[in-house]
Amino acid sequence: MFTLSSLGIVIFQVIIIIVLAPLLSGIIKKIKAFFQIRKGPGIFQPYYDIAKLMRKDSVVSENVSWIFHAAPVISFAAVLTAGLLIPIYISDMPFGFAGDLIAVVYLLALARFFTALASLDAGSSFGGMGGSREMFVASMVEPALMLSIFAIALNVGSTNLSFISQAVSSMGLSAVSPYHILAFVALFIIAIAETGRIPVDNPATHLELTMIHEAMILEYSGKQLAIVELGAMMKQLLVFSLLANIFFPWGIASEISAAGIAVALAVFLIKIIILGAGMAIVETSTAKWRLFRLPDLLSVSLMLSFLAIVSFIIVRGV
């Protein structure tokens, strides 16, 4: 099983995730700027930010415990581990055996859990606010996320992500069907929430009363902040690649070959840029919602994915 090549694939995947993550957010920022008729920072700005943070040393609250220091590291690792399970440029993940969709969701939950703990550790009320809101949104996101992918999983009969992407890609365009679209829309809404974008959260703001993710990490600074930010970007990338490779896995490499991988990477980049563009459009065209209107939004996605399942069963006529 464990050939060197597979190990290479994994390492490559880790590198890709870490490297591409800032790029993606840079791209999205750029597209947003474009739609807002601004020049905006270059797409490599996130790299500069992280590099800058690396050089700064951190100011730590006097109240914190070891949780505060451990949390970023653990979340980072958890997100990366989730990354090992999600096909990005090759559908047959060597470590795919270690977990399926549910594992991915719960690994992301683990990351979130520790970030939220850290937000409470410093004892500032902003942190508490952020953690509270984060968990609140998460508790609505998780069921919707699961259900939307179950809709696809029902189709192929498995929750193993590699297997799903293989199956869907092998199906060709015939895979595109009402429930496929419904599920995709549902997952897209969830992606908005997961990546903390308008109308759920505003990544750009630093106004304490409106932010969610930023409020959680308010106490972090310097290297630790760098790690946190990088982790967030990685998570965003992973969510995007879920969208890309679960619903439109076409072009993904099915076996190891330099050419295939190169093509797959290219295709992947295009996909996530398109998705990012969509995201940017949504962000620029809507205003941020009140926190307590979010349940409406997410219940919409929940309903969509449920409809997806029902229509699937009707279409299949079982």
Binding site: V60, F76, A98, G131, S139, V141, E142, L147
Partner: protein
């Protein structure tokens, strides 16, 4: 032969413990160690016994009964499994209790508690090993009554007495339904032996089967605490001493699950589809409502009690799925669902025991159950904090801890409806999987609150200021459970085949190699749908990948940054007063589901000189308990008002009394005359 010895060994040591604790009644320290250590030894025998049954064959023992009662024990693998669960919990909790009991030295009668404790354990073991309905009812009620006495151990507090009353009445109502169910079964077989029940279950007319099922579900559901029969848990568990609530919540309510499996599969041969759906629905409702009430609960033990309701719900989800598959004629799938249920049952007994013991040690050192009054404990009691965190991570089903594995299995068994033919099944089961997902997320929120508010940041009251770490035995007892919940998390490949030996006995088929198998690196594989999951390798990956951020941290220059106070818009915030409270933390959920909680708000301001200058400002907010306010209180109120009306017949006037007799006479005459015609 080993089992007979270990069986008797268990009884011997339990009774020794009971006796010693009474004998040394006056000497606190002595009676404590005597009763609890012998309980621990007994539990070791229990473990040996149960294992020897699971890997050996069924153990039967007939008591020398009289003509009227023919009692006996019959321990098959299912019973043995529950004996195992009970014994494991008892072992850890007993060790913990040795330290925990110091709380009561000189205050309360330790010997009395030790005695009840041992008898309570005995009764639980008897419940799962009885082979006769009458004997079962006797030991079942014994268990309830003893636990009642344990609940009212601190009976000086009125709320404790109220809790005990609610508990004993609810459990008695449950017993009433159990009685009916058994009577129906006995009507089929003509005897009260469980053997007869097995025979009669297949031959009974369907209506009787349905009734027996319903009564059993209600009766045992009242003990298991499924909504809406759950109201006693949040009262009883906080009232009891923490080691007792660890046992009550960890294992006692599981005995009800045992009997549910016994009745549905063993006696009635779960052949009816809607039974499964009903159990599934009960599970879903209990899970979601339980965790919702847990989230907004400031009392840590009440919160744990509510979360027990949630976990019972999850177990029932697995059980219901298993019943559905069984009714659909796919025993292998049914087996895997049952494995999921039993797995979660075992896990819950471990981490809930751990958490209750943690709550106990918090109370032990801070003398408050209110999360809002805690805080900063991670510095005051570091060891305890780590153990508690382990429990929190497990119960929040975060990989790679135990809760994750069992919930993953439950998810998979719900999604096995992929391959089911019935379209209703294919809609309902994924939907309940979504419910399970919501429950898991809320549970994470709930325990984030518990740990974050309770242990992190600054102490919120002088209770927490002067907290000290738990003493040796307590840490040891909790440590055992912490290690167990990690092992159960990373070694499913050994646990699942073990559980399969048990589920095979009632689902009739082994799931191994048909619907689940294990692979290298502790991987679980479900061949049906190429799904695989391997917590150990997840753990390994995480550990490896931890290196990356660490490397980043260490490579980039100075390690520790400067220490400064928490930033709060320039205001000094390093006081406990303006920390984020637990209520505020869970407020979004409370607003989200305000139709369920129906919160009661009170806003009172006192003014000093003029109505413009507020002197003090008091805000109170309570959560309405829907089922109490809209189901139980009205019913009891109705009964009592009717009773008041009836009481008027006892007027005290002798003439009225004579008139009653005269009236009765006349009525009976009419009866005869009309009957004569």
């Amino acid at each position: 032969m080993i089992y007979t010895y270990s069986f008797y060994g268990f009884f011997f040591f339990i009774l020794i413990g009971a006796a010693l604790s009474i004998i040394f009644n006056k000497k606190d320290r002595l009676s404590t160690s005597a009763s609890f250590i012998s309980a621990a030894i007994a539990s070791i025998f229990g473990i040996i016994f149960s294992l020897s049954v699971i890997f050996g064959e069924t153990f039967d023992l007939a008591l020398p009964g009289s003509l009227f009662f023919n009692f006996g024990f019959s321990v098959d693998r299912l019973s043995a499994f529950f004996i195992l669960v009970i014994s494991v919990s008892v072992f850890a909790v007993s060790i913990y209790s040795v330290g925990y009991m110091r709380e009561y030295f000189g205050k309360k009668n330790i010997g009395y508690l030790g005695f009840l404790y041992n008898i309570f354990i005995l009764s639980m073991i008897l419940v799962v090993s009885a082979n006769n309905a009458i004997m079962f009812l006797i030991v079942w009620e014994l268990m309830s009554v003893i636990s009642y006495f344990l609940v009212v151990y601190e009976h000086e507090k009125p709320e404790t007495r109220k809790a005990g009353f609610i508990y004993i009445v609810m459990t008695h109502i449950g017993t009433g339904f159990i009685l009916l169910s058994f009577l129906i079964l006995a009507g089929g077989s003509g005897g009260f032996g469980f053997e007869g029940f097995r025979a009669s279950g297949s031959t009974m007319p369907p209506l009787y089967k349905d009734l027996a099922f319903l009564f059993a579900l209600i009766g045992f559901g009242a003990k298991a605490g499924i909504v809406p029969l759950h109201i006693w848990l949040p009262y009883a568990h906080p009232a009891a001493p923490s080691n007792v609530s660890a046992l009550m919540s960890g294992v006692m309510i599981k005995t009800a699950i045992y009997m549910l499996i016994r009745v549905f599969f063993d006696f009635l041969g779960a052949g009816v589809l809607w039974w499964g759906f009903l159990v599934l629905a009960a599970g879903a409702i209990s899970a979601i409502l339980g965790i919702m009430y847990a989230i907004v609960e400031p009392d840590i033990k009440r919160m744990l009690a509510f979360s027990s309701i949630e976990n019972i719900g999850i177990i029932l989800l697995g059980l219901g799925a298993s019943m559905i598959f069984y009714a659909n004629g796919s025993p292998a799938l049914s087996a895997i669902a049952a494995i999921a249920a039993l797995y979660h049952l075992f896990n819950h007994s471990v981490f809930k025991g751990l958490l209750f013991m943690g709550a106990g040690s918090i109370i032990f050192s801070t003398h408050t159950k209110n999360i809002e009054k805690l805080g900063g404990l991670i510095k005051k009691m570091p060891m305890m904090a780590i153990l508690f965190l382990t429990g929190v991570l497990s119960i929040s089903a975060l990989p790679p801890f135990s809760g994750f594995v069992s919930e993953w299995l439950t998810f998979q068994s719900l999604l096995l409806s992929f391959s089911s033919g019935d379209s209703l099944v294919r809609i309902v089961l994924p939907a309940s999987a979504a419910v399970l997902a919501l429950t898991g997320a809320l549970a994470a929120f709930c325990f984030l609150k518990a740990f974050g508010i309770g242990f992190l940041a600054l102490p919120r009251s002088e209770h927490a200021e002067h907290a000290k770490d738990a003493n040796g035995p307590m840490l040891l007892g909790m440590g055992i459970f912490a290690v167990l919940s990690i092992l159960l998390g990373i070694l499913p490949v050994y646990v699942i085949p073990f559980l399969d030996r048990i589920t095979g006995t009632f689902t009739g088929e082994s799931a191994i190699d048909k619907s689940i198998s294990s692979d290298y690196f502790g991987t679980i594989i479900m061949p049906a749908s190429q799904i695989s999951m391997s917590t150990p390798s997840l753990l390994v990956f995480m550990l490896i990948l931890l290196s990356i951020p660490l490397v980043i941290l260490f490579l980039s220059g100075k390690k520790q940054g400067t220490v400064y106070e928490t930033w709060g818009c320039g205001q000094p915030v390093s006081t406990a007063r303006n920390e984020y409270t637990g209520t505020a933390l869970s407020k979004p959920v409370q607003i989200w589901f305000k139709n369920l909680y129906r919160p009661v708000r009170e806003l009172r301001a006192t003014y000093s000189v003029s109505p413009l200058i507020k002197q003090s400002f008091k805000f109170e907010s309570r959560i309405g308990q829907v089922f109490e306010n809209h189901l139980y209180i009205p019913v009891t109120g109705y009964i009592l008002s009717k009773s008041r009306m009836i009481k008027f017949i006892q007027t005290g006037s002798i003439h009225a009394y004579l008139a009653y007799i005269f009236g009765t006479l006349v009525i009976l005459f009419m009866f005869v005359i009309l009957g004569g015609k």
